[in-house]
């Protein structure tokens, strides 16, 4: 399984605490957007398979056919994190080699534990649109920082 992560290019003038705040906002945006059933390009996730809808996990998870949100236990999205940051860059994703990383890969590639992707079942959530990123950068760059701390 490959390591699931992506690099976010950011202005080099952002200080470390601003980079952490920005990463937090990017991650929370990804969670919010995924929770609303949208992939990294703002498109609706493909629907669940008939087999999954009929499964015990689907019932136990209290899931609905009309809400594809990549959450059963919720652990995968909870595991998404800022892996590292440096001037001009954030690296966001999952700890390599973890079950959550593998789940993410299954969703991103549409493989779900199979050797090949299942056609039409890719659910790539790991990324952010440029316009949204610019909005978050602007907020961090112009706000007074986390908890009102002055720059």
């Amino acid at each position: 399984m490959a390591w699931q992560k992506f690099t976010v290019d950011i202005p080099t003038n952002l200080k470390p605490d601003q980079r952490r705040e920005l990463a937090d906002l990017v991650i929370e945006h990804i969670f919010d957007r995924t929770n609303r059933g949208l992939d990294k390009n703002g498109k609706r996730f493909p629907g669940y398979s008939k087999e999954y809808v009929a499964s015990l996990d689907f019932k136990v998870g209290g899931k609905s056919k009309s809400k594809v949100d990549l959450q059963l236990s919720g652990d995968m999205l909870a595991a998404m994190k800022l892996i590292s940051h440096s001037s001009g860059k954030l690296l966001i994703g999952f700890d390599n080699g973890t079950l959550e990383n593998d789940k993410a890969e299954g969703n991103i590639l549409g493989t779900y534990g199979q050797p090949s992707p299942i056609p039409g079942k890719q659910r790539d959530f790991l990324g952010i649109q440029r316009r949204k990123l610019a909005e978050l950068i602007d907020y961090v760059d112009t706000s007074s920082g986390i908890d009102g701390t002055n720059k």
Partner: protein
């Protein structure tokens, strides 16, 4: 008085939550967070996983014995047990919960124990959660069943580290900084 396995104070969860958000939690906010925590624990257990220690890693619950699976199959009416049912398994007249099947190890037979999970007591920032009450068929109470399961290595009334992160997110979005930033992160 020592905590039993069934009852669990989630004071340590609230303390760690306060550390994570770097501010004190209002007592009024504890109840919804406690209920969110209960829902997480119940769902995870029904999916077939337990957590041995607070903030640990979830692990698949110990598999069911062949004899117990046979008993569970007989409850769904799909087969008759080949051997005499041990008394410890329970009555022959109970109905298998919709949230399980004959072979899944998820601490669910009729569903009463996990359905009974609730806030047991509240005092300041100390809240205890756990199963409670009697069962429809009589016999051991729900917390006694939970204690028995724990003695067999099936501990469920704890929160994993990733579940804790879900609790932090829920707090932040409901009461904390993300509530104010909700439009920003959409």
């Amino acid at each position: 008085m020592a905590q039993t396995n069934s009852k669990k104070s989630i004071r340590d969860i609230f303390k760690r939550l306060e550390d994570a958000i770097d501010k004190s939690i209002d007592a009024k906010q504890l109840r919804p967070i406690a209920k969110f925590t209960i829902d997480l624990i119940v769902k995870r257990t029904r999916l077939g996983y337990g957590v041995d220690r607070q903030f640990g890693t979830k692990k698949k619950l110990k598999p069911l014995s062949d004899q117990y699976i046979e008993y569970r199959r007989s409850l769904s009416g799909k087969s008759k047990p080949k051997s005499k049912t041990p008394k410890i398994f329970g009555a022959r007249s109970v109905k298998l919960s919709e949230f399980t099947n004959a072979t899944r190890s998820n601490l669910t037979l009729t569903g009463q124990m996990l359905d009974s999970m609730t806030i047991l007591s509240e005092r300041g920032k100390s809240i205890s959660i756990g199963p409670q009450g009697k069962r429809n068929e009589g016999g051991p109470t729900n917390d006694q069943i939970a204690d028995y399961q724990a003695s067999q290595g099936r501990v469920f009334n704890r929160v994993s580290l990733l579940e804790f992160k879900q609790i932090v997110r829920e707090y932040r979005r409901t009461f904390g900084d993300l509530l104010k930033k909700s439009k920003l992160i959409q």
